[in-house]
């Protein structure tokens, strides 16, 4: 025993000497980085795609949003969200053309407009991050062209190519990327959508598909010889995109990474034989002109973004929303971006370690899960939240914002039991909608981080109405300046009128059973499903929860065999069209595998939708949107659930942070005080060794009587050897 404790003490000592010289033992980063200008963040799962043609999810955009530079971007501070130029020199204006290609005036009616042409001018002098694909020799020929498998032998990652180069961003790179949407080997999620709009994209996809079939599998598909009718290079810094009809939302798409520049030589570089086998692909090592570049891509552990040395000219905005000056977010106005040299993302799959490390000062910001919320935040009145005193003392700050997302529980309108458009069916759905107490849901499962939904459009999006005008009169009453959910009696009354008094079929007397399909698993699922059962129980309806895996769930949505289901939608862009289309009849899930999982179809709604989608934001558009929302409220295709509210916590040493649900290039605006951070980490993480010593001591001491007894016995056995076998009997 004593030798073992010595070993342990020796180990502890060795470890102390090894890397914890700064007196903090639990630092998960290397000791030398303590005072550096590095931001620490986390990611929960490996992003699937970094190729801007394929990436479409939040966790992918968190990285490539800071790497690629689409023509447009969202203003960092202003609300409501405002589009401003990013790589473009000014905001492009659509030019309307009729079927013959003649220019039309700006106010031409939508049905006369056959095409809209967007001419985009980019700023000259923007340069790509250093990358081997741009490396050229003295003669100006690329160094790493026509590589053989032989030459790739010692290469495992992108940094194994010694020479790097850069080049200026040109308009042709943007056109090349638009063509890549139709790439036969890539799966762009928006190809289907864009093929309906961008002229010639559908045809290009078909041609390329054919061309790729002729090539041996895995061979490089060269897009250069194939022209795209709807996208052409005008001059070195100008290109034009032609879309069918009037499509004002196209500008929003131009702010998404799908329309970033991708240089053809980069694609050719990655397309060389042997690269894909080594995971050296554009999907893994993005190449952009943005503020940061990905230097370490190890999704098993860490991703590192470093400042792009060629990124120039961007400055911190001088104006923002009214509260920004007050919050000190305008102090850096005019300073060159980015502020932070390096951003380290560490893999953190479990919530608890993530949260604890944030408290220890090892992460600079933290999204908070509902369970860690109480510690941080107190409610003060309706929806307002403040931090607990303990947090405030630590200098932790809280920021809130309403996400541009909606969560809903849909009815399948094709289902004979809950679907249909009869008065009775509507009443049944109304009754259920009233019974499910969203306010309680938000308070229990979201810790108040949400707003009950009265319709499909979340706040912050055009078309949302606040106050008494915005309530859903079928579910709420406006009482004393506040919406109040109708009583359970009202719900029961509706249920009776629907033909189910006390939750039982008036004709057969059988209890009403409703199936809820969900793919939700994980720790919170059980409690949540229990809660839903309880809600339905209030009006005497039996809820059958059918938990299944994600694939099965999608399958059932597609063939329309669900009755009720959960889904959510994150906006692509801040426009009501992006929410209203979720209930557009022709988008039906069952018919065309669209996004309308409720398979809702109302001719009047569909007509209004077609009218609304081309309109600019105006009072007339508001009238139409209001009418559409009214139709939905009466038909109840969804149980209007809630709009999530995002809360972010950050430490006092992080400046300029402001949640922005649309922009993804936000890292460049952040600034940190690294010295202060090092100081506080030190103060918060004093190691506590005495309990370990105490435990070891107790274990050691507990052996002493036994050792003494053993010694005595040994001495006895030395004289009476024969007695030993008695001791062999062990006590059970």
């Amino acid at each position: 025993m004593p030798t073992r404790s010595y070993c342990l003490i020796a180990l502890l000592a060795a470890w102390l000497l090894a890397g914890c010289g700064d007196g903090v033992w639990n630092n998960p980063y290397r000791g030398g980085d303590a005072g550096a200008n590095i931001l620490y963040s986390a990611f929960a799962e490996r992003p699937k795609h970094f190729d801007p043609v394929q990436a479409y999810s939040e966790n992918e955009y968190a990285f490539i949003g800071n790497i690629y530079q689409p023509p447009l971007q969202y203003h960092y501070l202003k609300r409501p969200y405002e589009l401003i130029p990013y790589a473009a020199s000014d905001m492009p204006k659509p030019l309307y053309l009729d079927a013959q290609g003649n220019a039309l005036p700006e106010d031409a009616p939508a049905d006369r407009v056959a095409f809209s042409e967007y001419v985009i001018r980019i700023r000259p002098g923007i340069r790509y991050q250093p990358h081997p694909a741009f490396a050229v020799d003295a003669a100006g020929k690329p160094v790493y062209a026509d590589l053989t498998r032989e030459r790739l032998r010692g290469v495992h990652t992108i940094s194994d190519f010694r020479q790097q180069g850069t080049r200026e961003l040109v308009a042709a790179d943007y056109v090349h990327q638009i063509k890549r949407l139709a790439h036969p080997r890539l799966h762009s999620p928006i190809l289907g959508l864009m093929a309906d709009y961008i002229v010639g994209l559908k045809e290009l996809a078909a041609t390329l598909q054919k061309a790729a079939k002729a090539l041996p599998s895995g061979a490089f598909v060269d897009l250069a010889p194939h022209a795209l009718e709807g996208a052409r290079v005008v001059d070195r810094y100008t290109y034009a995109v032609r879309v069918k009809g009037k499509y004002p939302q196209f500008l929003y798409w131009l702010a998404m990474p799908f329309f970033s520049p991708v240089p053809p030589e980069v694609e050719r570089f990655y397309g060389q034989p042997g690269m894909a086998e080594k995971n050296i692909t554009l999907d893994w090592f993005p190449v952009g002109t943005g503020p940061y570049m990905l230097t370490v891509n190890n999704p098993n552990r860490q991703m590192v973004l470093e400042r792009n040395p060629h990124y120039q000219g961007a400055v911190y905005p001088a104006e923002g929303a009214p509260d920004d000056a007050e919050a000190g977010r305008l102090k850096d106005a005019g300073n060159a971006l980015p502020f932070i040299d390096k951003v380290v993302f560490s893999l953190e799959k479990e919530q608890i370690p993530y949260w604890n490390k944030f408290l220890q000062g090892y992460f600079d910001t933290s999204g908070i899960s509902s369970d860690t919320f109480d510690q941080a935040v107190q409610f003060s009145g309706q929806g307002d939240v403040t931090l607990s005193e303990e947090m405030q003392a630590r200098g932790i700050r809280l920021q809130t914002s309403t996400a541009t997302s909606v969560f809903y529980m849909g009815f399948n309108l094709l289902d004979p039991a809950v679907g249909g458009y009869t008065e009775q069916a509507r009443k049944l759905r109304q009754a259920i909608t009233i019974a499910i107490d969203q306010e309680e849901y938000i308070s229990i499962f979201r810790n108040g981080r949400g707003l009950p939904a009265h319709g499909p459009i979340p706040p912050g999006i055009f078309g949302y109405r606040e106050g008494a005008d915005g309530i859903n009169p079928h579910v709420y009453d406006w009482v004393e300046g506040k919406p109040r959910r109708k009583s359970i009696e009202a719900a029961k009354q509706l249920l009776t009128e629907a033909g189910f008094p006390n939750g039982r079929d008036a004709k057969s007397g059988q209890p009403l059973l409703i199936n809820l399909d969900t793919s939700q698993t994980g720790p919170a699922a059980k409690a949540m499903l229990d809660w839903y059962v309880k809600q339905f129980d209030k009006i005497g309806v039996q809820l059958v929860v059918r938990a299944t895996d994600y694939n099965r769930f999608q399958d059932k949505l597609r063939n329309g065999s669900v009755q009720m289901y959960f889904l959510g939608w994150n906006a692509d862009y801040p426009d009501p069209e992006n929410f209203m289309f979720l209930l557009h009849g022709p988008q039906s899930k069952v018919k065309i595998a669209g996004e309308n999982a409720s398979n809702y179809a109302n001719p009047e709604y569909d007509k209004l939708f077609d009218q609304m989608k081309h309109m600019p934001n105006s009072p007339e558009r508001q009238v139409i949107v209001d009418r559409m929302v009214d139709i939905l409220r009466a038909d109840v295709p969804w149980v209007w659930s809630w709009f999530p509210k995002d809360y972010t916590l950050r430490h006092g040493w992080l400046y300029n942070s402001k949640p922005n649900k649309m922009a993804h290039n936000t890292l460049q605006y952040l600034r940190i005080d690294a010295a202060r951070r090092a100081e506080l980490r030190h103060a918060w993480n004093r190691p506590n060794v005495w309990p370990v010593i105490l435990i070891l001591l107790i274990v050691a001491l507990s052996f002493i009587p036994a050792i003494q007894a053993f010694r005595r016995r040994e001495r006895a056995t030395a004289t009476q050897a024969h007695a030993t076998h008695v001791a062999a009997e062990a006590k059970p």
Binding site: Q351, I352, W355, N356, S369, D371, T372, F373, D374, Q375, Q378, F379, S380, G381, Q382, E440, S443, I444, F445, R504, S508, G509, Q510, P511, L513, Q520, T521, G522, P523, A524, A525, K526, A527, M528, L529, D530, W531, V533, K534, Q542, V544, V545, R546, A547, T548, D549, R552, D555, K556, S561, E729, A730, K731, P732
Partner: protein, 479 residues
Amino acid sequence: MIKPVMLWTDALVFLLLAVITFFVWTVYRHEHLAAPWRKVGHSASGMAALVVLSCFVLIGFLDTLHYRVSIPGKDGKTTYAVEVLSALDAMVGPLRTQKEKTYSAPLATHLFAKETLQGADGREIREFPRLRYGGAGLKDVRRDHVPDVLQRAALGLGAGLLLWMLPVAWVCRRVARRSKSGLRAAFLSIARRETQVPWHAILLAIGAVCIVASPMAALASQYHVFGTDKVGQDVLYLALKSIRPGLIIGTLTTLVMLPFALALGIMAGYFRGWVDDVIQYLYTTLHSIPGVLLIAAAVLMMQVYVENHGSLFPTTVERADFRLLFLCLILGVTSWTSLCRLLRGESLKLREMEYIQAAHAFGVSHARIMIRHILPNVMHIVLIAVVMDFSGLVLAEAVLSYIGIGVDPSMNSFGSMINSARLEMAREPMVWWSLAAAFSFMLVLVLAANLFGDAVRDALDPRVSTRKAVPAAPAKAAA
């Protein structure tokens, strides 16, 4: 009016009970079989564990008696509610129905987190809201809460002690009658641990159960003894409901795998040659596949089946039950191999025995030899495996549920309790009671199972001769 409901696992539980009854009856009838069991009966820790285990089994059994309540239907016809309840639900009635809004601490009268409430003067204040049921009967909460809890606990304790007196008295009388001595002498002999059957341990275990359970029951009518969870369900109720899945997985898994392991193991050892080769090949293959992956694949496969045959499983309970049964099956598939190997080894030895050779000479058929002569002689291995596997399976359930391939999310189980409780640990102030409840219930159950398993192994396994029980005192009391 109620209508009994028989789920698949229920049916198997009854089958298991029938098997056990038959087994007990056989053992009771044959002196040579009963002898080792008597040895189990003499193990103090084993018998104490058995008492605790029986309590769990009783709760699990009550939870197995499922029924549906009738509701008056139209024109005199009775229809039945969809919700499937169990005898346990009926017995602990208020625990199930008295749901609060969200978290509350054990024995609390207020919710755990402050909320914005309307004060008497109409102003908004931040306050801990009063619980709907916890301590509902109290007039002045601040003044009466602690005395009320203490009073109830004391009453419960008293009742528990009184209750304990019943078995104590019964045992004393029995011992007195057997040894033909007075009650007092019998009591003293028990207290001095002089009886051959370790009555002192049994009575102490019963006493412990009474002392723990009775105050709990007394408090549970008015308070949430283990607090409430996120959606306000009583954690004690959840823990009680988690017992059945644990027991089912621990026992049914062995029940379903037993026929395969027995048949294949004995056949391999008995026939040798190519039969042996094929069977060995089979179980080595199955054993070489990492168990978790096999279970994951199988559970996903079952989900496909259930979704494609939705009409067979109209209610949540039936779906959850089928998943539980399937989990038992697949756990059985991954765990039968070790038992099969042991049985094969034992049969290899047995077939060389003289009496088997003699049976051969008389022309007894293979099947008969295997059933009549080999099977009874390998039963001890089976029994040891069954009791030793039990605790491992209960623990495995927790891990599988954590990965998401365990029981149905709608079913209460220790795994799902731990899974949701682990996020609560990050709250501050910490919500510790769900985890504590899961921890203590699981620890007691598995500990009891382990101790009982040890006692059975010591008694049945001829190999474990080293752990000879040394009587603490000479056996004076006549058995």
